[in-house]
C-alpha cells in the first residue's frame, strides 16, 4: 500500500507562507518585516491555487515563498532589529521609572534613521546580495533615481528629516556630475509631471523623473515611513553606484563638497571633482567655473593608454609581419571604433549604424556660452547643457552661485535662454523692437546684438534630435512647435504626430475626408450666406454618417443590394414623372468626382463586409480556446486602432480649421 499523503504536507501548501505566518516565524513586528522585505526585495507571490495554499477558512491575501522567508532567517539585519527593539523597551522602561538621564543615555545610543537620516546599520551586504553585478544595479536604478530626486526636492518634515533630504540631494548631484563628465545623458523630456531624463550607462538605459521645483503637495494617505525605508536603501545603492561610476572614469569619490557654495545655492557648482591619481581634469574646470586645469583629461589619458596598449599588443603580435610597424600603423591600424559601412553597389539595403563621431551629440553645445534668464529653471538647464558639452553657463545672480558670469551683457554669451512674453508696451514705445539688435541700452524687450534668443524648449528639442534646431521657431514669444516625447518608438500602423496625415490615414478615412470636403465645397458654391451654417451641417453630417456606418455594419449584404436597387428605381421614377410633366430630368447636382468617391466608398464598405464575413467563418473553425485568444487580441488591437483613428480625426479637423483661417 502506498504511503498515505496528508493534505498540506507537500506542494503548494509547503511552498507558500502567508504574511502572518512569516512575521511569526521571523519573530518580528510587522513594520520591521516590511522594512526587511523592502530592503531584501522580497515581494508577495500569487499562488496558482489559493485554496490549496491557505489552510484557514478565511482567504489570506498575501503569500510569500517559504524559501524566501527561510532565507531571511539568517539575515544579519534581523539581529539589528531585535537589538533595536530591546533598546526601545529599555528606554520606555527608563521613562516609566522616571529615570530621564538613563533614558537619554539609551536614546543617544539608539539609531534613529528617521531623525538623523543615518542608521547604525549598513545595508552594504544587502546591496551586494540583491545586485551581484554592477549591471544588475544599473538595471534597477530607475526607481532609485526617481525616488531620490523626488526626496531631494521635498520639504523636511518630522517624517522626512532634513539630513536625509540633504543626503539625497548630494547623491543626486554627484550622479549628475558623473553624467556630465561621462556625457551619458541621452534624452530628456518636459512632461506635465516633471522632467524625464534618460541616460545610457554601460549599455543600460536608465529613465527617471525629476519633478519640477515646486513645493510638493502631499495628498492623503502617503506613508512616509514606507517611502523612508525605500529611500534609505536607495541612498546606499546610489552611493555605491556613484563610487563605482566615479572610479570607472578615474575620479575620486566622494567629490569635494563646498558647504559655503552649497549654502549660496551653487548646487552642481558646490562639488569639485578630483582625479584619483594626479589631479583634476578638464571637465572639473567647466563645472566649477574658474578652477585651473591641473591634469590631463582622463578621457584623453584613457585614449592614450589604449593606444599604447594596442601598440604593445601589436608589437607582440607582429613578429611575423616584421616589415615595419610604421607602415602597418599607417595603413591598417586596428581600432575599437566602428567602421563605417557604405554600400558599394547600388540596390543593397542600408542598415542603421550608430552615429559617427563627426557630429558627436555629447559636444552639441560645446562651443556656446549660455546665459539663463532668471525666469528659466536653472537646475535642469544647467545639468542638460553641461551634459551636452557646454562649459560656460551664466545666469542671473538670483538663481544662485556658480555661474560663469552673472553679467547679462557679457559679450562672450552666444545663446540667451529666455522665457518671457514679449512686452507689448515696450515694443510700441521703442518702435523697432526686435529688429533693433544694435541698441546698446537694454530695456525690457530689448536684445543684445550677436546673440541667439531662444525659449527653453529649444534646448530639449536639440538634445532629443541630436542636432541644433533652428532658433527662429523657438524665439521668445513665438508659438512653440509641439514638444514630443523621445521615448516613443514609432511602430508600424501607429499614429505618429511627426508624419503628415496623408501618410497614415486609411483609405476609407481619406475617402471620407474628401467626401466631406466636397460636400462642403458644394454647399459653399450654393450659397455664401450660409457659410456659418455649413460648419454645423458638416458636423451633423459627420455624426449621421457615423451612425449610418454603424448601421451598415450591422446590415446584411442584401440590404445594400436592395438599397442600390431602390435608388435605381427611385431615379427611374423621377425620370418618369419628369417625362410626364414635360420637364427636363433634374439630375441631382452630383459632382462626377463625388460620385466616384461615393462609389469607392460603397465598394470599400462592401469589401469590409465581406472580410468580416470571412473572418466570422474562419473564427467558427477555431477551437474555443483559440477563439477566445483571438478575440482578446483583436479587442486590444481594435482599441489601439480606434484611439489612433480618433487622433487622426482630431488632427484632420484641426488642420481644416487652420486652412480655413489661413
Amino acid at each position: 500500500m502506498p504511503k498515505i499523503k496528508k493534505k498540506g504536507q507537500a506542494g503548494a501548501a509547503k511552498n507558500y507562507i502567508t504574511r502572518t505566518q512569516a512575521v511569526k516565524k521571523l519573530q518580528l513586528s510587522l513594520p520591521d518585516f516590511r522594512k526587511l522585505c523592502i530592503w531584501k526585495g522580497i515581494y508577495p507571490r500569487e499562488p496558482r491555487n489559493k485554496k490549496k495554499v491557505s489552510k484557514s477558512a478565511t482567504a489570506s491575501t498575501t503569500f510569500y515563498y517559504t524559501k524566501d522567508i527561510q532565507y531571511l532567517l539568517h539575515e544579519p539585519l534581523l539581529q539589528k532589529f531585535r537589538d533595536q527593539k530591546v533598546l526601545e523597551k529599555k528606554i520606555s522602561r527608563a521613562l516609566g521609572r522616571g529615570d530621564v538621564s538613563d533614558a537619554a543615555r539609551f536614546e543617544r545610543h539608539a539609531a534613529r534613521p528617521e531623525a538623523t537620516g543615518k542608521p547604525r546599520y549598513t545595508l552594504n551586504h544587502v546591496i551586494r546580495e540583491r545586485y551581484p553585478t554592477f549591471n544588475d544595479a544599473l538595471r534597477d536604478l530607475d526607481d532609485c533615481l526617481s525616488m531620490l530626486f523626488l526626496f531631494a526636492n521635498l520639504p523636511s518634515t518630522s517624517a522626512v528629516p532634513a539630513k536625509m533630504i540633504a543626503r539625497c540631494e548630494r547623491l543626486c548631484l554627484e550622479f549628475q556630475h558623473y553624467l556630465i563628465v561621462s556625457h551619458s545623458l541621452r534624452k530628456s523630456f518636459l512632461s506635465i509631471k516633471g522632467i524625464y531624463y534618460q541616460a545610457n550607462i554601460q549599455g543600460e538605459d536608465i529613465l527617471w523623473l525629476v519633478p519640477y521645483k515646486f513645493n510638493q503637495r502631499i495628498v492623503g494617505d502617503v506613508d512616509f515611513r514606507i517611502m523612508g525605508t525605500f529611500v534609505e536603501f536607495y541612498m546606499t545603492l546610489l552611493g555605491f553606484v556613484n563610487y563605482r561610476l566615479y572610479s570607472s572614469i578615474g575620479l575620486k569619490y566622494p567629490p569635494k563638497f563646498d558647504q559655503l557654495k552649497d549654502e549660496n545655492g551653487a548646487e552642481l557648482g558646490a562639488f569639485s571633482l578630483e582625479g584619483v591619481n594626479m589631479a583634476t581634469q578638464g571637465e572639473t574646470k567647466a563645472v566649477t567655473n574658474g578652477e585651473e586645469q591641473q591634469g590631463p583629461d582622463p578621457k584623453v589619458q584613457a585614449e592614450v593608454d589604449k593606444i599604447i596598449k594596442q601598440l604593445k599588443e601589436d608589437e607582440s603580435k607582429s613578429d611575423e609581419t616584421a616589415e615595419g610597424d610604421a607602415e602597418a600603423d599607417d595603413e591598417e591600424k586596428p581600432t575599437d571604433s566602428i567602421d563605417k559601412f557604405e554600400p558599394v553597389a547600388p540596390g543593397g539595403d542600408v542598415l542603421p549604424q550608430p552615429a559617427y563621431s563627426s557630429n558627436d551629440p555629447s559636444q552639441l553645445f560645446a562651443n556656446f556660452t549660455f546665459y539663463l534668464s532668471r525666469e528659466t529653471p536653472r537646475q535642469p538647464l544647467e545639468f542638460i547643457l553641461r551634459a551636452f558639452g557646454c562649459k560656460r553657463i551664466g545666469w542671473d545672480s538670483v538663481l544662485g552661485e556658480g555661474a560663469f558670469t552673472n553679467d547679462e551683457s557679457d559679450p562672450s554669451i552666444t545663446h540667451h535662454i529666455i522665457d518671457r512674453p514679449v512686452v507689448q508696451a515696450a515694443t510700441n514705445e521703442d518702435g523697432d523692437g526686435e529688429d533693433n539688435q544694435t541698441a546698446q541700452k537694454v530695456g525690457p524687450n530689448q536684445r543684445y546684438p550677436g546673440r541667439i534668443y531662444v525659449q527653453p524648449q529649444w534646448v530639449w528639442d536639440c538634445v532629443n534630435d541630436e542636432e541644433l534646431k533652428s532658433p527662429e521657431l523657438y524665439a521668445p514669444g513665438a508659438a512653440l512647435p509641439p514638444h514630443l516625447s523621445p521615448f516613443v518608438k514609432a511602430a508600424p500602423g501607429q499614429y505618429d504626430p511627426t508624419l503628415p496625415l496623408e501618410a497614415q490615414q486609411t483609405e476609407a478615412e481619406a475617402i471620407e475626408a474628401d467626401l466631406e470636403d466636397a460636400e462642403k465645397d458644394g454647399a459653399e458654391e450654393g450659397s455664401d450666406v450660409e457659410n456659418d451654417m455649413d460648419v454645423d451641417e458638416a458636423e451633423d453630417d459627420e455624426e449621421e454618417e457615423e451612425g449610418d456606418e454603424e448601421d451598415a455594419e450591422e446590415a446584411e449584404e442584401e440590404d445594400a443590394e436592395e438599397d442600390e436597387e431602390e435608388s435605381k428605381t427611385l431615379q427611374r421614377q423621377l425620370e418618369l414623372e419628369a417625362e410626364l410633366q414635360g420637364k427636363k430630368v433634374q439630375n441631382k447636382k452630383v459632382d462626377p468626382k463625388t460620385k466616384a468617391k461615393l462609389e469607392q466608398r460603397k465598394t470599400l464598405e462592401k469589401k469590409a463586409r465581406e472580410e468580416a464575413e470571412d473572418l466570422e467563418r474562419a473564427k467558427g473553425m477555431l477551437s474555443k480556446k483559440k477563439r477566445k485568444l483571438f478575440e482578446q487580441m483583436q479587442y486590444t488591437n481594435n482599441k489601439k486602432s480606434a484611439q489612433d483613428e480618433k487622433l487622426r480625426a482630431k488632427r484632420r479637423k484641426l488642420e481644416k480649421e487652420k486652412a480655413q483661417k489661413a
Binding site: E46, I192, V222, P497, L615, M633
Partner: protein
C-alpha cells in the same frame, strides 16, 4: 460695620452656655428619648444581624428596655456614639452614669477659664487626667441664620417697596428702611469710600454691604480657587521619614549597626576606579556636543562593492519589477494639439472615479515652460510605485506577440467552394400545421412532404405546385416520408402512427409504364406474404407486422400497401437497392428497429434486445452494414456475419439523426444538444470535428448524395447550415470542413424551426420542412 458683626456673633455665642441650665431638664428627657430610639434601632439591627440573639417576645422588649439600657449602653456607646469618646469605654458603669448627665454640668468650668480636665485615680491608684468632653458646637454654623435680623424669609424684597419698612425683626418689630442717601449723602459716600466698601447693598438690611480685610481675602482666595483659610491646609504633603505608621513595637530591638554610619568602602572603590580612569584619560566625562554631531555627520564609507563581481545565474523564480512605461506624447507640456482632450472627453474624465480612469492625467498644453505648474500627484504616484514594489504579487505573463490573423485557419474562399445553395428559390405552401418530413424523389423532379395534418403531398420541385395529395389519417401526423431510391419505380413510403404506407403518387413525369412497374413491385410480395406467414413465423405468435391493402378508398388514390407495426414509426430509411427498408419506432421496446423486405412482404426484427432507445437506423451506402443510433452511440452491424462491427461514440447527449457519407467512411451526427459531429470511421470512434454553430437542437443532418462535397444540418433555431465537406481520395489526408452558408427563412414556431431537410440527388439544391408549415427549396 464688620467688627460690629463679629462682636455681635460673640455676644450671641456667649449666652448659650448660660441658657443651658434652663434647658437642661427638658433636654435630659429628650436625650434619653433619642437614646431610646437609637437603642431600639440598634437592637433591631442586632436581631437582624445575629441569629443567635433570640428576642423572646416583642412585648417584653419594651419592659426590658429600661433595665437593659445600661448594660447595652457600653456597646452602643463604644460603637455608635462617637461623641461619648473612648473615655467612657474604659470606665465602670457607675462612672458612666455620672458621665452622661455630667456632660452639661462641667461646661461652666471650662468657660470660667479653668483647666479642662480633672485628675482622677485609675485602677492602679495613679493619677489620671480625665479631659472634658469637647463641645464641637455643631450649631455654630447656624449663627448666620440667627443673625439674620429680618424674618420675612425668602421673598422678593420688592413686596416691601411701597412700605416704609422692609421687614420684621425677631421680635416682630418693623425694620425701617434706612434712609436712602440723598444726593449729598451719595456724594459723601463717593468721596470717602470706607474700608471694605463694596458698593453692594445688603438686601436684608438695606445697608451698604461692607467687607473687612479678612473677608475680602477670603473672597479673593475663593475666587482664585484656593483654600479659603490660608492657615489651614487640608492636604499637607506627607513627609514620610520612615513609614507612615509609627511602630509601637519595633520588629528588631537590635541597635543600629555601625556600618550604617560609615561610608561604603565598596562604593569608594568604584568611584576611585572612575576617578583614576578619568585622570588617565580613559574616560571622557563629557563629550563636547560638536564632536558628537561630527560623529553623526560622518560620511558613510563607500567602496567598490562590485570589485569581485561574479555574474550569477538568474533565479527563474525571481521576477524583476517591471519598469514604468516611458511617457508618451500626450504627457508633454506642449503636446500636439490632437492629443488634447475635447470638452466631452474632459467632462467624462472628470466624472469618472480616480481609480477607474484609464489615465491618471489629462493632457494639457502650456504655451511656455514657465507656465507649467507643479504636478500634484508626484508624491502619491511614487508612493504607489513603492507599494507596488513591495506589496504587489508579481506574475509573469507571457504576451503572445503574434499576429492574431495567424491563428485563423487558412480557409478556401467561398467562391472556390461554390456551388452551394444560397437563397430560397421556392416556398411550398399548403400544409396545415408543421411539415414533419420532406423528401426529393430519386429523379429529382418531385418533392414529397408529410405533416401534422395527416396528409402526404407531392409537389413539383421547381414550381412549387402541388400535384398530388392524400390524407392518410385525420388524427395522427405523418412522421416521415421517403422515396424508394431505385429509379425504376416511383414509390413513396410514409409513416403515420403505427402504419407505414407505400404508395405510387401521380405525377407528370410518371409514365403509365413506370406507374405499372411501381404497382407491380408493390404487389409482387402478396403471395409471399401469405406463404411466409405460414412457415416463417411460429403459429400463435403475433407477427411483427401486418402487410395489408389499405382499403379501396386509399387504393384509388394510389396508396397500395399498409404495414402495421407495433408502435409509432418515426424513421424510414431505404436500402440503396430499394428492396429493403428499415423503420425505427423509438417507443417500441424490443421491436423498435424493423427491417422490411418489399419483395417478400416480410418484416424482421433484427435485435432481440437493444441497449438504449433506438433513434434512427440506416444502411451503409456501399457495404452490407447496418447502423443503428441509440441516444448516445451509433452501432454498426455486419448484416452478413450478423455481428457488431463498431460502436461510434460521438459524445453527444442525445443523437437526433445521422447520415453516412456516400463514400462510406465518414459519418455526420446531429444531436439535440446543438452539436454537429463529423466522424471519420477509420480514424476513431470519437468525432473528428465538433461544430457548434446552432443555438438550438440539430434535427436533421444530410450529406449531398450526388457527388457534391456538401452537407447540411437543420436546426430548431430556424436555420439550415451548409458546409463544404470534402473527403479526399487519399486516405492519409484529413477531410476539409468549411462552413459556407447559413440559410435563414423558416420561422420558429413553438421552439421548433426546421424539422427536416433533403438534398437534391444531383444539383446543389436542398429542400427544408419547417414548423411554420412551409417547405422551402434552396438553390
Amino acid at each position: 460695620m464688620g467688627p460690629k458683626a463679629i462682636e455681635k456673633k460673640r455676644k450671641v455665642q456667649d449666652p448659650e452656655p448660660e441658657s443651658d441650665d434652663e434647658i437642661a431638664p427638658d433636654f435630659d428627657g429628650a436625650l434619653s428619648q433619642s437614646e431610646d430610639e437609637f437603642d431600639s434601632d440598634f437592637d433591631d439591627n442586632e436581631h437582624e444581624q445575629d441569629g443567635e440573639q433570640e428576642s423572646g417576645s416583642e412585648a417584653s422588649d419594651d419592659e426590658d428596655e429600661e433595665g437593659s439600657l445600661l448594660s447595652d449602653d457600653i456597646p452602643s456607646d463604644a460603637e455608635g456614639d462617637k461623641a461619648m469618646g473612648k473615655l467612657v469605654l474604659e470606665d465602670e458603669e457607675e462612672e458612666l452614669k455620672i458621665e452622661i448627665p455630667g456632660v452639661d454640668p462641667k461646661r461652666p468650668e471650662k468657660d470660667d477659664g479653668e483647666k479642662n480636665y480633672r485628675i482622677e485615680k485609675d485602677a492602679n491608684g495613679n493619677e489620671r487626667y480625665v479631659y472634658d468632653e469637647i463641645d464641637p458646637v455643631y450649631d455654630s454654623d447656624d449663627s448666620d441664620a440667627q443673625e439674620a435680623p429680618n424674618t420675612i424669609g425668602n421673598i422678593p424684597m420688592s413686596f416691601y417697596d411701597s412700605y416704609p419698612h422692609i421687614g420684621y425683626d425677631i421680635n416682630g418689630k418693623k425694620i425701617m428702611r434706612p434712609a436712602t442717601g440723598d444726593a449729598l449723602d451719595a456724594l459723601l459716600d463717593s468721596i470717602e469710600v470706607p474700608k471694605g466698601w463694596t458698593g453692594l447693598t445688603d438686601i436684608h438690611t438695606g445697608n451698604p454691604l461692607n467687607l473687612n480685610d479678612d473677608e475680602l481675602e477670603l473672597v479673593r482666595r475663593v475666587q482664585m480657587g484656593m483654600i479659603p483659610n490660608e492657615l489651614e491646609n487640608p492636604y499637607p504633603e506627607t513627609v514620610e521619614y520612615f513609614t507612615g505608621i509609627e511602630e509601637k513595637m519595633p520588629l528588631s530591638a537590635a541597635p543600629e549597626p555601625k556600618r550604617r554610619f560609615l561610608p561604603s568602602k565598596n562604593e569608594a572603590k568604584k568611584i576611585m576606579k572612575l576617578v583614576r580612569a578619568i585622570r588617565e584619560g580613559r574616560i571622557l566625562p563629557y563629550k563636547p556636543p560638536e564632536e558628537r554631531e561630527k560623529e553623526e555627520e560622518e560620511e558613510e564609507q563607500y567602496f567598490d562593492i562590485w570589485q569581485d563581481e561574479v555574474p550569477q545565474e538568474v533565479n527563474p523564480l525571481h521576477i524583476p519589477a517591471p519598469k514604468l512605461p516611458p511617457p508618451g506624447f500626450d504627457m508633454s507640456y506642449n503636446p500636439p494639439a490632437e492629443y488634447l482632450p475635447t470638452k466631452e472627453e474632459r467632462e467624462e474624465w472628470e466624472k469618472l472615479d480616480p481609480e477607474e480612469r484609464e489615465k491618471e492625467y489629462l493632457p494639457q498644453k502650456y504655451d511656455s515652460l514657465r507656465k507649467v505648474p507643479g504636478y500634484g500627484e508626484v508624491v502619491k504616484e511614487r508612493f504607489e510605485r513603492c507599494m507596488d514594489l513591495y506589496l504587489a504579487p508579481r506574475v509573469r505573463k507571457n504576451r503572445l506577440n503574434i499576429d492574431p490573423n495567424s491563428l485563423l485557419p487558412k480557409l478556401p474562399s467561398p467562391s472556390e467552394l461554390k456551388p452551394f445553395p444560397t437563397v430560397a428559390q421556392t416556398v411550398f405552401r399548403g400544409h396545415d400545421g408543421r411539415v414533419r418530413s420532406v423528401a426529393i424523389d430519386p429523379t429529382g423532379v418531385a418533392v414529397a412532404s408529410g405533416g401534422d395534418d395527416g396528409t402526404v403531398r407531392v409537389w413539383e420541385l421547381l414550381t412549387g405546385r402541388q400535384v398530388w395529395s392524400v390524407k392518410l389519417s385525420s388524427e395522427e401526423a405523418v412522421n416521415t416520408v421517403r422515396w424508394r431510391p431505385a429509379k425504376d419505380s416511383f414509390i413513396l413510403s410514409a409513416a403515420v402512427g403505427e402504419d407505414i404506407y407505400l404508395m405510387v403518387p401521380t405525377h407528370a413525369s410518371v409514365t403509365p409504364a413506370l406507374d405499372q412497374a411501381s404497382r407491380d413491385i408493390l404487389s409482387a410480395g402478396f403471395g409471399y406474404a401469405t406463404n411466409g406467414q405460414q412457415h416463417g413465423a411460429a403459429p400463435g405468435k403475433e407477427p411483427p407486422a401486418k402487410w395489408a391493402r389499405p382499403g379501396a378508398k386509399l387504393e384509388d388514390e394510389g396508396v397500395l400497401i399498409r404495414i402495421t407495426v407495433r408502435s409509432t414509426v418515426k424513421v424510414i430509411n431505404w436500402h440503396r437497392k430499394g428492396d429493403h427498408f428499415a423503420t425505427v419506432s423509438p417507443s417500441g421496446q424490443r421491436s423498435s428497429v424493423a427491417i422490411h423486405t418489399l419483395s417478400k412482404h416480410l418484416t424482421q426484427i433484427p435485435f432481440r434486445k437493444l441497449s438504449g432507445l433506438a433513434q434512427t437506423a440506416s444502411f451503409h451506402p456501399l457495404r452490407p452494414l447496418f447502423f443503428v443510433a441509440t441516444q448516445r452511440t451509433i452501432r454498426c452491424y455486419d448484416l452478413q456475419k450478423l455481428e457488431l462491427v463498431k460502436v461510434v461514440q460521438p459524445g453527444a447527449k442525445w443523437i437526433s439523426s445521422f447520415d453516412i457519407h456516400p463514400g462510406g467512411d465518414n459519418l455526420i451526427v446531429g444531436s439535440y444538444d446543438k452539436r454537429l459531429l463529423w466522424h471519420d470511421l477509420d480514424l476513431s470512434i470519437r468525432p473528428y470535428k465538433t461544430m457548434r454553430f446552432h443555438s438550438e437542437a440539430v434535427r436533421q443532418v444530410k450529406y449531398h448524395k450526388g457527388g457534391l462535397p456538401l452537407f447540411a444540418d437543420a436546426s430548431d433555431d430556424g436555420t439550415l447550415q451548409i458546409f463544404h465537406g470534402k473527403v479526399p481520395n487519399d486516405q492519409l489526408e484529413n477531410p476539409t470542413i468549411v462552413p459556407v452558408k447559413v440559410l435563414k427563412g423558416h420561422k420558429v414556431v413553438n421552439k421548433l424551426g426546421v424539422l427536416d431537410m433533403d438534398w437534391h440527388p444531383r444539383e446543389p439544391w436542398c429542400v427544408s420542412a419547417g414548423a411554420d408549415g412551409t417547405i422551402r427549396l434552396w438553390m
